[in-house]
């Protein structure tokens, strides 16, 4: 009988999928909290938005490192 659970190809191809998990959670929390702050205090929305983007940039680069690594080490 054939083994239907057999994996062919390179396991690195699922690496990027895994690499998106953490940053996905991180971005959700980060942007959600920023929105919460903006809803509570609309007068500081601009500052919050700028700081949110700085944080987003730091979290997002983790997911992108996963993408780069997927191409480099495949």
């Amino acid at each position: 009988m054939d083994n239907y659970a057999e994996l062919t190809g390179n396991i690195a191809t699922i690496g990027y999928g895994l690499a998106t998990l953490g940053p996905g959670i991180g971005l959700g929390i980060l942007i959600g909290k920023a929105l919460e702050g903006m809803a509570r205090q609309p007068e500081v929305a601009n500052t919050l938005r700028t700081n949110m983007f700085i944080g987003v940039a730091f979290v997002e680069v983790l997911a992108l490192l996963g993408l780069i690594a997927g191409f480099l080490f495949i």
Binding site: T50, F53, I54, A57, L64
Partner: protein, 261 residues
């Protein structure tokens, strides 16, 4: 460019998308490929746009001039002055504005028909821009604090001395390696991923329309619509990355000049 040879099955896009064959000076150190040609075209267009629309600048701006003024004002108010403040911002305004416009124009090349690839989706340009930012914020730090810059940035105050064992190596890595590296990689990877998604959608559309039998071409409509959706998304990402690149450059300069880290 999608490499779909007719009748030979579906080719998923790969990293070779970003290393097209040379078009001029093949085999010499001055090899010149499509992406470099795109960069030259985009640079010329950017200079022409900025020059033509501000050549006869008037106090009451016309349509072309007010678009440029809107963009310049966005960089000045939203990025430079909100991070660096008015006085320090004035010194770095030319550099940061230039960075913003270069990154924006090169990113948009990825969605302009016939150019079809972002000038920033190959490592060369992001690295050059990141090095410029790197040199700028290190020089800014040393100019403001002298040799004390190292102490301020590597030994942040208000920490128990024993913690420096842990913090200083992290800060060295952070200031001298990770900041420029992530600056370049973030831009590169965003534009690379966007281009791959676009190629995947349109290559799949081509394949499904022309090589799928029966009802399969109907599914091609979905990938086609998805491709246009991703094009719009790419315009947004191109703008966002230009914004983030400039914002982080401003933040790094501000951190260097800050008295207490």
């Amino acid at each position: 460019m999608a490499e779909t040879d007719s009748g030979s099955g579906f080719h998923a896009p790969s990293i070779s998308e970003f290393f097209p064959p040379a078009i001029f000076f093949d085999g010499t150190p001055f090899e010149f490929n499509r992406i470099q040609l795109v960069r030259v075209i985009v640079t010329v267009l950017l200079i022409l746009w900025l020059w033509l629309s501000t050549r006869h600048a008037k106090l009451v701006p016309g349509r072309a001039q007010s678009i440029v003024e809107l963009a310049l004002d966005f960089v000045r108010v939203q990025i430079v002055e909100s991070v660096l403040g008015k006085t320090a911002g004035r010194r770095y305004l030319p550099l940061l504005t230039t960075l913003f416009f270069i990154v924006l124009a090169m990113n948009f090349a990825g969605v302009i028909p016939f150019l079809n690839i972002g000038g920033t989706s190959v490592i060369g340009l992001p690295v050059v821009l990141a090095i410029i930012v790197y040199v700028t914020y290190i020089v800014a730090g040393f100019r403001k604090h002298g040799p004390g810059y190292l102490k301020i940035s590597l030994f942040p105050s208000g920490v128990p001395p024993i913690m420096y064992l842990l913090i200083t190596p992290i800060e060295i890595l952070q200031v001298f390696v990770l900041r420029p590296l992530t600056l370049a990689l973030r831009l590169l990877a965003n534009m690379m991923a966007g281009h791959l998604m676009l190629v995947l959608c349109f290559a799949a559309t081509h394949f499904l329309f022309f090589e799928g039998g029966g009802l399969i071409p109907l599914t091609g409509v979905m990938t086609l619509v998805g491709g246009f959706g991703i094009t719009l998304f790419e315009i947004f990402v191109g703008f966002l990355q230009a914004f983030i690149f400039t914002l982080l450059a401003a933040v790094y300069i501000q951190m260097s000049e800050d008295d207490a880290h």
